[in-house]
């Protein structure tokens, strides 16, 4: 089964990349963009069909590796 993990910076953490993109969009003349925060997405393919098992595995993956909880938070989504 397929799942998506989204890892984003905690809101208190500075995001210079997002800031740079804001600036670049402005100078490219893209209108209306007020702020941008950049994060990561992981599209994961898992064995089996049980959502609970998959969710447990992904939670473990996030805690152990995919997110650095010092600065990041994560969310797990199923299609």
């Amino acid at each position: 089964m397929k799942a998506r993990v989204i890892v984003t910076l905690k809101s208190a953490v500075l995001d210079p990349q997002g800031k740079a993109i804001e600036g670049a969009l402005r100078s490219l003349g893209v209108n209306g963009v007020q702020s941008v925060r950049q994060g990561k997405v992981f599209d994961v393919e898992l064995a089996g069909n049980d959502q609970a098992t998959a969710e447990a595995a992904l939670k473990e993956a996030c805690e152990k590796l995919l997110a650095n909880t010092v600065i990041e938070t994560y969310r797990i989504e199923f299609a």
């Binding site: 210079p16 990349q17 590796l65 650095n68």
Partner: protein, 232 residues
């Protein structure tokens, strides 16, 4: 002294580190493969060298921090053993939880390779006895993600406990926060663990050791280690 330099896939300054240990400290470092479970018997210094372990994929140092050998490195550190992480090694130490905080993208969002001035914050540790407190030393940096950050409480604690090892400084000795290479909080270039046995630093002292090549201010760090480990 009996150093072990850990080799992760993608490490690329392991030769530089081993050369510095040999030339300055007269040591014969063991190169230890990441998949090993044990450090060579008698290891008294572990060096996590610079480079791009696992290509810096996901986050710098994240994957290497979970390698087999890191369990042994953790145990070594817990016993008070010396662990030096340079550049990618510093990132690995943070990811492994051996040092607090995290290194994020340089404030200017670009890789930077240049010489910086470092202010030596204390000269009473195993890594810095050959320097004097307040010395300004010339050392190169070469990294894309050396911007040290942590929550306010952690920073306050580091400062309170005197655990900042080096700061980016200007020629007048003042901290260089705006013009520094990466935007680190308080100009932090390197920090110690609580017991001062673990040091993580972004700059590369191992590349400034030979007069034929350039400045030699990096020697002090390896001389200090040689002294500390001979005395021990």
């Amino acid at each position: 002294m009996k150093p072990a330099v850990i080799l992760f896939p993608g490490s690329n300054r392991e030769r530089d580190a081993a050369r510095a240990l040999k030339l300055v400290a007269g040591a014969k470092p063991n190169i230890v493969w990441h998949a090993e479970h044990e450090l060579p018997a008698g290891t008294d210094l572990v060096v996590l060298p610079g480079g791009f372990s696992y290509g810096d994929y996901l986050r710098c140092g994240a994957i290497a921090a979970r390698a087999n050998i890191m369990t042994a490195v953790r145990a070594h550190a817990a016993k008070g053993g010396l662990v030096l992480g340079i550049c990618n090694g510093f990132q690995i130490l943070c990811e492994a939880g051996l040092l607090p905080g995290v290194l994020v993208r340089n404030a200017r969002l670009r890789f930077v390779c240049r010489e910086v001035l470092l202010r030596v914050e204390r000269a009473d540790t195993a890594y810095t006895k050959a320097y004097r407190k307040g010395d300004l030393i010339r050392i190169p940096v070469a990294h894309g993600e050396g911007n040290y950050t942590a929550d306010d409480a952690t920073i306050a604690q580091l400062e309170h406990e005197g655990r900042v090892a080096f700061r980016y400084a200007r020629a007048d000795g003042q901290i260089d926060e705006t013009d520094g290479p990466n935007g680190s909080i308080n100009g932090i270039a390197g920090i110690y663990s609580e017991k001062f046995n673990v040091l993580g630093m972004m700059p590369h002292p191992e590349d400034y050791i030979e007069p034929e090549i350039g400045p030699t201010d990096g020697r002090g760090l390896f001389e200090s280690l040689a002294g500390a480990l001979k005395a021990a």
